[in-house]
């Protein structure tokens, strides 16, 4: 057994039968922790590196019928009931510093914890269960996040193991990490799916928390250092933030010199997953933003198709 697989990392979830994170049918490994704070994030449970309470109130059977979490060893004030006919328990995330053992005590599974520690070997064993499916569909394994490059050694170890099994590898990244992190991982990657959320540095800082200078430098360096790898750049397309010609054309200009950037995809903004903010006790700040209209998407897609020299219908 290879030693490099002993490394541990923080995994959020391993999702089988994914169809959108690279070619074929894939398994996507979501890691915990991100270095950006995009206000529209559809995976808020992946943002913080630390473990967090996952509370689904719908699963609670009520204080009268259960009430385990209202007593020790749960921290005082972590869970509570509000006066009224509905006696399902509420969670106070500020006070709910709970352990995995405490989460396991909840009989309905309403209380859980986002994130668990795993070795690269354990992840590899899990993803290789579908080895034949990957071969049959031309699929593989994708490491996503959060930001998978925040745990470069762990991500590299998993991908190396997958590659050594002869299976296609991909990552999803926003690229806001030191170049050394990215370089360490890319050697084991066949396809890089990377975001290009906003080309304007000021607007990038406003919506993501930091400007995009290093991100753009990283991807330029990645295109040049790894000419044999394939890259697909993507934009989560949000009206009012980046669903405009200016952004699309700026991205096209950025990737133009690099033949290994094989496509530019638009990911229409949606609000699925925003319910997870409730499970985390967080506020979803973009709740009144609209998804892009089909007409706007078609228009922007037309610009991309033209740049790639293809008719829109061919896509």
């Amino acid at each position: 057994m290879e030693d490099y697989l002993n490394i541990k990392g923080r995994v959020l979830n391993i999702q089988r039968y994914c169809g959108e994170d690279g070619p074929g049918t894939r398994t996507t490994v979501f890691l915990k922790g991100c270095s950006l704070r995009c206000k529209w994030c559809a995976n808020p449970e992946s943002i913080k590196l630390k473990y967090e309470l996952d509370y689904n109130r719908k699963l609670c059977k009520g204080a009268a019928a259960c009430g385990i979490c209202l007593k020790a060893p749960y921290p005082e004030g972590a869970f509570y009931v509000v006066d009224g006919p509905d006696d399902k328990v509420h969670a106070n995330w500020d006070l709910a510093d709970i352990t995995e053992e405490m989460a396991d005590m909840c009989p309905t599974g309403a209380i859980g914890i986002f994130g668990k520690e795993m070795t690269a070997r354990a992840v590899l064993d899990e993803v290789l269960k579908d080895e034949s499916m990957y071969r049959n569909t031309g699929g593989g394994v994708t490491i996503s996040g959060g930001e998978c490059l925040l745990q470069p050694d762990f991500t590299a170890a998993i991908l190396r193991g997958v590659q050594e099994s002869g299976i296609h590898t991909a990552i999803e990244t926003a690229g806001n990490v030191p170049w050394a992190y990215m370089e360490k991982v890319l050697q084991y990657v066949d396809l890089v799916l990377h975001d290009n959320k906003q080309m304007n540095p000021e607007r990038h800082k406003k919506w993501m928390g930091v400007d995009n200078k290093r991100i753009l430098e990283n991807f330029k360096k990645a295109y040049e250092t790894f000419p044999e790898k394939e890259f697909i750049t993507r934009t989560p397309t949000i009206p009012g933030i980046n669903a405009d010609e200016e952004h699309i054309r700026a991205v096209l200009e950025f990737i133009k010199p690099y033949k290994n950037v094989i496509d530019y995809e638009l990911l229409p903004y949606h609000r699925y997953g925003t319910g997870k903010y409730e499970f985390l006790g967080k506020v979803y700040e973009l709740k009144d933003y609209d998804a892009p209209s089909p007409e706007l998407l078609a228009h922007l897609q037309g610009i991309i198709d033209e740049a790639f020299g293809r008719k829109t219908q061919e896509k």
Partner: protein, 385 residues
């Protein structure tokens, strides 16, 4: 117990009209005891990042400065969108965004500035954060503020009366609009968990119905009530609905679990649908949902309107101005008598001090036996329970 010589005032996240009145009440009362008073800029930011501010993030609330404050406004110490020293968003040395626990920095800087105690004007999550700071040794007194009046252990939170007055004014206008258009207005007001603003404002303007989170509303029963009230001489209606209200017996609202599972699986490319359970509600959801549901079973035209954040702005009312001065001076009395870790509670006719933990995790809701419900029923207002 160390003798108090210097007190800091901190203001939690979110806007409440007339907070200056609290500051004035606290400062004047403290000055009379010979204490100095400072305000922390922008929540706790002033002391978390003193280098970003003039005067190290503090504003001197001496007699001269306090004399110049307008008690109707809330502009003395700035505002912060988030006040949580345990999770301060920062950019680390590797240029990555992360949340850092800076509670120790806050406590150290309070000590460095010779602040002996803090008066925290808080609501919602702010109470939990203050409780955590108290557990780490902070000497504090909390003043409750909530335009929705949903804080437990006090009869009236600061800011509620101002919001109520403005809501009544807006409902009067909406009623006028409904009357002139001969339609039924469904007006959404603040109140995610409790319906105080809705029931008190709705009663004041003699609405036809007030729907609050405490009592899920049977839409067909509401429609029957409205039909009984609307006639040729009175061809309009007014329904006040709190934002956290829920509805039963809606036509065509059910979405099968199977359909939802499919939608979830299709994410992120699935087409958005308002009723999706994986989607956070938009602003104005209650008004739109109820309006659509009523329109399906009534022939009268229904229109929704949302007051929402409009209610949070503006100046304080006379009642809140007095209440603010009262809360501020009471907080100083609490500190003087060493009652740290408490919240000032107004239980007419007295101001008292209750342990902060007694207000945490509790919501002050409208009970079925509340006299506000009795009043509404006496006036023929449908309340849904």
């Amino acid at each position: 117990m160390k003798e108090i010589k210097r007190v800091a005032i901190a203001l939690g996240a979110g806007f409440t009209p007339g907070v200056n009145a609290i500051i004035i009440g606290a400062a004047i009362s403290a000055h009379r005891l010979g204490w100095q008073v400072v305000g922390i800029m922008d929540g706790f930011e002033g002391l978390l990042f003193p280098e970003r501010y003039p005067n190290k993030g503090l504003i001197d609330l001496n007699a001269d400065a306090v004399g110049k404050l307008n008690p109707l406004e809330s502009d003395a110490m700035g505002t912060a969108s988030m006040v949580d020293p345990f999770n301060v968003r920062s950019i680390n040395d590797l240029d990555m965004v992360e949340e850092v626990d800076m509670s120790d920095v806050l406590l150290q800087n309070l000590k460095k500035e010779n602040v002996d105690a803090v008066i925290a004007i808080m609501m919602g999550r702010g109470l939990s954060i203050l409780h955590k700071l108290n557990l780490k040794g902070l000497q504090s007194v909390c003043i409750p503020r909530s335009v929705e009046n949903d804080m437990a252990a006090t009869a009236v939170s600061f800011g509620f009366n101002s919001a109520l007055s403005f809501t009544i004014e807006m409902l009067d206008r909406a009623k006028g609009a409904a009357k002139s258009a001969q339609k039924v207005a469904v007006i959404e007001v603040l109140g995610a968990q409790s319906g105080w603003l809705a029931i008190q404002s709705g009663t004041a303007v003699l609405a036809d119905a007030v729907i609050i989170p405490e009592f899920p509303c049977d839409v067909h029963k509401l429609a029957e009530h409205l039909k009984s009230r609307i006639n040729r001489d009175r061809p309009y209606g007014l329904v006040v609905v709190a934002e956290g209200a829920s509805f039963t017996n809606q036509s065509g609202a059910a979405v099968s679990e199977k359909a939802m599972a499919l939608k979830k699986a299709l994410s992120p490319l699935a087409t958005e649908e308002e009723s999706g359970q994986f989607v956070i509600n938009r602003s104005g959801k209650a008004a739109v949902t109820l309006s659509n549901a009523l329109q399906q079973i009534m022939t009268n035209e229904i229109f929704p309107l949302v007051l929402g954040p409009w209610t949070r702005g503006g100046a304080a009312t006379a009642v809140d101005r007095q209440l603010g001065l009262g809360y501020g001076s009471a907080a100083i009395r609490a500190l003087k008598s060493g009652q740290f870790g408490t919240m000032v509670s107004f239980m007419p006719p007295v101001m008292q001090f209750v342990p902060l933990i007694d207000s945490l995790n509790k919501v002050r809701t409208v009970h079925a036996e509340s006299y506000f419900i009795d009043i509404a029923h006496s006036l023929g207002i449908f309340t849904g329970e």
